[in-house]
């Protein structure tokens, strides 16, 4: 588990200034997170640099970034990606290329180059720079792991108050558990490993949900919320922390209200801390009719 001050967030929540760790053990999770990070960055008007694993050809990276339809015919959504690459908004690169003409990795050289690229992106008219770095380059360049841990824990100047965001992606099939744990702790943000997942953590009087609550995760949503309410003593209070719940569909929102209403009959009071958007959704669905429910808006 990450340290208490490491925040776990879905990739869709990445913003300028964020420095995040993510791990993968297969192609599905790797490419989904990369595609979401890259495409939402392009849509936000940022320059996007992708440092894929050495040996992965550019066409393969592009194929995973573009949502060609089921007939294999690229739609205009793909044209955007191709256009972004032609214009220089999307850059496919490598760690060797980034630090060139230097041949040996040093944190100073790499961070200096990323600072230059961030400044250049702004000069070129973009809102900032976001980089996806597959950490397989460490093996490719023979960089010592210790140097990487030091780099990740001494990178605040790249991010603080700067329009730069970075995802460092670690292949769980190659890095050891100790290294993965150290790297996860070294990053202020840890990303959920796949899109569409719903996670829950519970402590006394508090249930925290993060990820996405939709048709696929509704059963789990009902289960964890219902269980937390049932375990709350008669006349007691439960806090539902939904700040990092990126998506809440209508079915899950309605189920939440139904469960809260049932718990209210036992005198259980519930405080929901959520985004302004989810607060509005719950109100539209009738939250105000539940006397035991308090909604508190929190910023992301």
């Amino acid at each position: 588990m990450p340290a208490a001050d490491v925040r776990v967030v879905p990739v869709q929540r990445m913003r300028p200034g964020d420095h995040a760790f993510v791990s993968y053990d297969g192609d599905d999770t790797r490419w989904d997170v990369l595609a979401a990070f890259a495409r939402l960055g392009l849509a936000a008007g940022e320059r996007v640099m992708v440092f894929a694993a050495p040996g992965v050809p550019d066409p393969e990276v592009l194929a995973h970034l573009g949502p060609a339809d089921d007939a294999g015919r690229p739609g205009d959504a793909d044209a955007w990606v191709r256009s972004a690459r032609r214009s220089g908004q999307l850059v496919l690169s490598s760690m060797r290329e980034l630090i060139s003409p230097e041949r040996e990795f040093t944190a100073v050289r790499q961070q200096g180059r990323l600072t230059e690229e961030t400044d250049r992106a702004v000069r070129d008219g973009y809102a900032g720079l976001r980089a996806y770095i597959d950490m397989h380059w460490v093996r490719d360049m023979g960089a010592p792991i210790d140097a990487m841990v030091h780099r990740e824990t001494h990178a605040d100047h790249l991010f603080a108050g700067r329009p730069y965001a970075e995802v460092c992606a670690y292949d769980r099939r190659w890095f050891t558990g100790d290294v993965l744990d150290a790297m996860a702790q070294a990053h202020p943000r840890n990303l959920l490993t796949r899109l569409g997942a719903l996670y829950a953590t519970r402590t006394e009087g508090l249930l925290r949900l993060l990820g996405e609550a939709d048709l696929s995760t509704r059963e789990r949503f009902q289960g964890v919320v219902g269980d937390a309410l049932r375990r709350t003593a008669e006349g007691g209070r439960l806090v539902l922390a939904l700040r990092d719940l990126h998506f809440l569909d209508v079915g899950c929102a309605a189920e939440l209200l139904t469960l809260v209403a049932a718990a209210g009959e036992r005198g259980v009071r519930v405080e929901v801390r959520c985004s302004a958007f989810h607060l509005a959704l719950l109100r539209r669905l009738g939250a105000a009719t539940l006397p035991g429910l308090t909604l508190i808006g929190v910023s992301g």
Partner: protein, 142 residues
């Protein structure tokens, strides 16, 4: 300045037309939401309405999965100053009469999704398709 740097392309949503068309099933919903949010950003939908557009698209797509044969076909496009979504399913068919006028009570198990879609969109039509139903929703661009 950014606009000056971008080269015009066939994928420019400023040029009206289909932006994305693809089949989907339940496991595709998270990816569809990312693509829908991206489309809404490209098209210039105000931040305040992007979440509503994504939610509305998700509800209609989920409806197709649950009631329309387990899958559907989604099209996103910008047209007539709107962002528009069309979902086609292969289910037994339904019409706008299934949408309740008032918010269903908490004891009701269905109807809220499309009720909310109608509430947050500027345009919602439900018509029979060649097979199943075609649902089209839209939100006006600023």
């Amino acid at each position: 300045m950014l606009e000056e740097l971008r080269e015009p392309s066939a994928g420019d949503p400023a040029a009206e037309g289909c932006w994305l068309e693809r089949d989907f099933a339940e496991g595709d919903l998270p990816r569809l939401r990312v693509l829908t949010e991206e489309f809404a950003m490209w098209a210039g939908l105000a931040a305040a309405h992007r979440g509503e557009f994504v939610l509305a698209v998700n509800e209609v797509a989920s409806n197709a999965i649950v009631h329309g044969g387990g899958r559907g076909r989604l099209m996103l496009r910008r047209t007539d100053g709107e962002v528009q979504c069309r979902v086609t399913d292969r289910g037994p068919g339904f019409d706008a009469a299934v949408i309740p006028e008032l918010l269903p009570g908490l004891d009701s198990r269905c109807g809220r999704g499309l009720w909310l879609v109608r509430l947050v969109t500027d345009h919602l039509t439900i018509v029979p398709g060649p097979v199943g139903t075609v649902v089209t929703l839209a939100i006006r661009l600023p």
